[in-house]
């Protein structure tokens, strides 16, 4: 199967000289299409940095990162914007919804600029919010807000969904619900899902688990048997 992402000798260094921080020290990685991949590791291990680079939010210091056959490290800012617009969905720990837009409108924000978006109601139904479309973020719980964020991320029919600590601010019940949604999105839309998390238990639902430490990959493991989110110990 073709890879969604391929990286070769990817490095990222913040600062210079003695103060330099090496966030990534030469990462070689292949992420096949359609998998759920969980990136685990302590704070500062480089997992978020990797996600930011292959998500088109940040630039590598050296090395190469390919999305399918496009070289992300060679793209201009404008091309990276178009890459994010057309191919990538993001889900963040703090939801990052527009407080001034309703759930429906937050999703429409994306469908209005996407090439081949899904129906807004469908996206919200997939996350179980078909009946709360006209509520503003302030009128929703954290779990509901995160599900709107996921609906917003998937509504463009993305090739890849990036989730940075998607359950970090949620309790176990709503956290599980969110993971169910991510599982469904992967299964139904075939999108590659990358989840960065501290919660090691989440790894149970992944096709592939990548361990990070000190800016490098320590291990890559594939799960022979994937757990359902309900089976995950929280």
């Amino acid at each position: 199967m073709a890879n969604t992402f391929t990286t070769k000798g990817l490095t990222k260094t913040y600062g210079e000289g003695a103060a330099a921080v090496h966030a990534l020290r030469g990462v070689d990685l292949e992420i096949p299409k359609g998998e759920i991949v969980v990136l685990l590791g302590p704070s500062g291990s480089g997992k978020s940095t990797l996600l930011n680079i292959i998500g088109g939010l940040d630039r590598a210091t050296s090395g190469q990162a390919l999305f399918e056959d496009q070289d992300l490290t060679a793209m201009s800012d404008r091309d990276l914007t178009l890459y994010r617009r057309d191919h990538v969905g993001f889900v963040f720990q703090f939801y990052n919804l527009m407080p001034s837009l309703t759930a429906r409108e937050n999703v429409e924000l994306v469908t209005e600029i996407a090439d081949d978006p899904m129906d807004v109601a469908t996206a919200l139904s997939m996350v179980g919010l078909g009946d709360r479309m006209d509520h503003f973020p302030a009128q929703m719980s954290g779990g509901e807000q995160q599900r709107v964020a996921i609906a917003r991320a998937i509504a463009k029919n993305p090739n890849v969904l990036f989730c940075d600590e998607p359950t970090g601010a949620l309790d176990s019940k709503t956290g599980r619900a969110v993971l169910h949604v991510l599982n469904d999105v992967n299964a139904k839309l075939g999108a590659t899902v990358l989840i960065v998390t501290h919660a090691a238990a989440t790894a149970g639902m992944a096709h592939r688990v990548i361990h990070f430490a000190d800016g490098a990959i320590r291990s890559v493991k594939t799960n022979a048997h994937r757990l359902s989110p309900d089976e995950i110990a929280w």
């Binding site: 940040d58 993001f90 209005e112 600029i113």
Partner: protein, 787 residues
């Protein structure tokens, strides 16, 4: 320094751009306040010192010819401290290379002593030697205007005879701060001269041996001027007294007073606007800061700091910005006041400057800044107090926009999401948007009003010299002449049209209101110098009754149909009761008009004229001037274009110059508000904007969400600014208007267009500055923080 104070300093450093912008607005307000009050204090001190040191008379009593012994009678009037009798007469000075002779007043100096009153300040050369009838001292401002030097000879026509003089000295005098030729309204250094001569030379030239024709009187402390004036008039009446008047009615002093009054009006009106704007800006900036630091506030409170201590921390920040701004304002204000006072010193012809700083202006400036800033701060404190540690440390709930949900149905369908974000933010914070709209509108209003007033000055000129006065040349006679003189003028070379006038000095009285001016008799259907209605149509001179300028009617509090008392100051000095026939539109001076025949009949001086307006063939002008100079009756010739230029010059200097400063400053506050509005919007939305960028919005699309609000604020502010500008322009024009000239207000599209364009430029510039920050925003960092 406590830990909180360290935080204070670092916070201030972090918001240094905004803090600096706000401090600058405060500083501008305080600068204006300190500058204007320092300037006013300096001008008033200087004037008072000058008058005192050079003994300017309290009362001036012109008379036709009074014997010297009556000076003793005047001295005996209760309340009179000292008396000086002198001679003065009008003269025409021939300036080499100038076609027109210059009108002048000649004033006598007593031999062997300095005058008791109205002394001169000799700037160069020496005073007159006794017995030297050919020596003169010349007013310095006139000498400067014509590059005269000591030893130069000038020739003057006095009482029809031409005489030559040698200049031995240049002087300034407190009675000639402004020199206005008789029959004109506007001072002009070049076109009016004062010369001082020995008493006996004067007496010979004007045939006034053993007499005086002006008494100068100073008063004892506490004396009633009006009582003394009445007593003086009683003494001088039989000698042709023209009515004594107080110093405040003296043309020169009146002019200075009007100018100082104009400055005072501005100094009271403008600084509060800046303070209001600064308070508003502080409020929105600090509110925003408290909102973004709610966690820190909760934490500090959790440590055990009290509400008051935490509140004080933010309050200090407000006060610090206000005090720094006010401090700079005081320093700049002193500096600017000193610079401006120097300018005014030369405009007003003060020989020296007593620079004064009004210490109360510092106190007022700092106090007003702190109080207005604190008013903004108090609202901030309420927010700080309302935060409990537990609430503050929880992540903030998303801002609630559900109240704006009513818009939903109407928004649906025709607005995309970014537009909805912009609109909902506006409806979420209508108060803040309203404040920004008002602030920008006021700034725009202030600058458009200043520009309106500038064109108002032009209208004054156009109306006066284009509509009312359509002559080319005005001639005045030494004394009232017969109609024959008019015929003589008609036969001069190049004269196309001649229109005689009869002007008599008079005190116009309506109850307690009075005005010392003159009544001008016009021919029934005057064409060259007219009275006009508001719609610029002619007012035909009625057979009976008087036509008053609007400004004069306002001073007197009188309207058509009322009866005005006219106390004529010439000839038989009749006291007349004349009905007011109509009100004329004039912008220069405060004239009163009657039909010439009627006026002469009331004076019992049939067929007398005191001057004439003429239309001439401009090619014949030099020949005509030569002829006029040889007519002994001609006391002065004024070319309309010279009078217009003098008026223009006056309006570009003095109080008029202040309007340029004001227009520039108004631009600064407009920019301050626009920039802060954009900055705050960026601060509040940086996370949303980063999210939009992450989702795949381009920089331009993201900027739309940020700057859309600013655009709407500006669009709302523009029409409001026009309204405020129009209102302010009427206020400012009224402040600048004096009884010497009026500034009309009218809607001036070009002024508002310019001011509006300035607002738009400020917005585009602010938008560009803030948009650069969107380009630089660290997407990752912004998304990782909780706000």
């Amino acid at each position: 320094m406590t830990a909180l104070d360290h935080k204070l300093m670092r916070d201030l450093w972090r918001i240094k751009g905004q803090a600096g912008a706000i401090a600058a607005v405060v500083a501008v307000g305080v600068t204006l306040l300190v500058m204007m009050s320092g300037l006013l204090t300096s001008l008033e001190n200087t004037r008072a010192t000058y008058y005192q040191q050079y003994r300017l008379a309290d009362i001036f009593a012109p008379v036709t010819r009074a014997p010297l012994r009556e000076l003793e009678t005047l001295k005996a009037i209760p309340g009179v401290a000292s008396v000086e009798g002198r001679l003065q007469g009008s003269a025409l000075i021939d300036m080499p290379g100038q076609p027109l002779p210059v009108r002048a007043v000649a004033v006598s100096l007593p031999p062997y002593r300095a005058p008791n009153l109205n002394d001169l300040y000799l700037t160069q050369g020496r005073l007159l030697r006794p017995g030297r009838t050919e020596e003169v001292v010349v007013l310095k401002s006139f000498a400067n205007a014509h590059d005269l030097e000591l030893g130069d000879e000038i020739s003057a026509t006095m009482y029809g005879a031409r005489r030559s003089f040698v200049i031995v000295g240049f002087a300034q005098s407190p009675e000639f701060l402004f020199t206005v030729a008789p029959g004109e309204y506007v001072p002009d250094d070049a076109r009016f001269a004062a010369i001082w001569m020995n008493l006996d030379a004067m007496a010979a030239a004007y045939d006034l041996d053993g007499a005086f024709n002006e008494a100068l009187i100073s008063l004892e402390r506490g004396a009633q001027p009006q009582a003394v004036i009445d007593a003086v008039d009683a003494v001088l009446n039989r000698y042709g007294g023209q009515g004594a008047y107080a110093r405040k009615d003296h043309m020169s002093d009146r002019f200075v007073s009007e100018e100082i009054g104009g400055l005072r009006a501005t100094s009271v009106a403008v600084p509060p606007i800046f303070m209001g704007v600064a308070a508003f800006l502080l409020y929105i900036v600090i509110t925003r800061m408290v909102q973004s630091e709610r966690e820190q506030i909760g934490l500090i409170k959790a440590f055990g700091y009290s509400d008051v201590e935490v509140g004080l921390h933010y309050f200090k920040m407000v006060v610090f910005i206000a005090v720094v701004g006010a401090g700079f304002g005081c320093v700049f204000g002193i500096w600017a006041g000193r610079a401006m006072a120097g300018v005014y010193q030369s405009v007003y012809h003060f020989p020296f400057l007593v620079f004064g700083v009004d210490p109360t202006s510092f106190v007022v400036g700092v106090a007003v800044s702190v109080v207005s800033a604190s008013t903004g701060g108090i609202f901030v404190l309420r927010r700080v107090f309302a935060l409990t540690p537990a609430v503050a440390m929880r992540p903030p709930a998303p801002t609630d926009f559900s109240r704006t949900g009513a818009l939903n149905d109407r928004l649906k369908g025709w607005l995309d999401q970014p537009s909805r974000m912009v609109l909902r933010r506006i409806f979420r914070n209508p108060g803040r948007v309203f404040g920004a709209v008002i602030g920008i509108a006021v700034g725009m209003g202030l600058s458009s009003a200043q520009m309106s007033v500038m064109s108002g000055f032009d209208d004054t000129l156009d109306l006066t010299f284009g509509v009312i006065d359509r002559s080319d040349v005005a001639v005045t006679f030494f004394e009232p002449m017969s109609q024959d003189t008019v015929f003589a003028l008609k036969h001069q070379p190049g004269v196309i049209e001649v229109e005689p006038i009869r002007a008599v000095g008079a005190v116009l009285r309506n109850g307690l209101n009075s005005y010392r001016g003159s009544v001008t008799g016009l021919v029934e259907n005057a064409r060259l110098n007219r009275a006009v209605h508001k719609d610029m149509s002619d007012i035909a001179m009625p057979e009976t009754g008087i036509v008053l300028a609007k400004s004069l009617a306002d001073i007197l509090g009188i309207g058509p149909g009322d009866v005005l008392q006219v106390e004529v100051l010439e000839g038989r000095r009749p006291i007349l009761q004349v009905p007011v026939a109509s009100i004329a539109e004039t912008l220069l001076g405060a004239p009163a008009f009657m039909r010439m025949e009627t006026l002469n009949a009331l004076m019992r001086e049939q067929g007398r004229v005191s001057g004439a307006y003429m239309r001439i063939d401009s090619d014949a002008f030099p020949d005509l001037i030569d002829q006029l100079k040889d007519m002994p009756s001609v006391g002065g010739v004024t070319r309309r274009e010279d009078a217009r230029a003098a008026m223009q010059k006056l309006m570009d200097s003095g109080a008029g110059a202040m309007r340029y400063v004001m227009a520039a400053i108004a631009g600064i506050i407009t920019f301050g508000i626009v920039y802060n509005t954009a900055r705050i919007a960026f601060g509040e939305q940086s996370r949303d904007l980063a999210s939009l960028r992450v989702i795949g919005f381009t920089l331009g699309e993201t900027a739309f969400v940020l700057l859309g609000e600013l655009a709407i604020v500006v669009l709302l502010a523009l029409p409001l600014g026009v309204g405020i500008g129009f209102y302010l322009s009427t206020l400012i024009a009224a402040g600048f208007s004096t009884d010497l000239y009026q500034i009309p207000t009218a809607f001036r599209p070009e002024a508002f267009g310019m001011a509006g364009a300035a607002v738009i430029v400020a917005s585009v510039l602010s938008g560009w500055l803030v948009k650069r920050d969107i380009d630089r925003v660290d997407l990752v960092a912004t998304l990782k923080t909780r706000e």
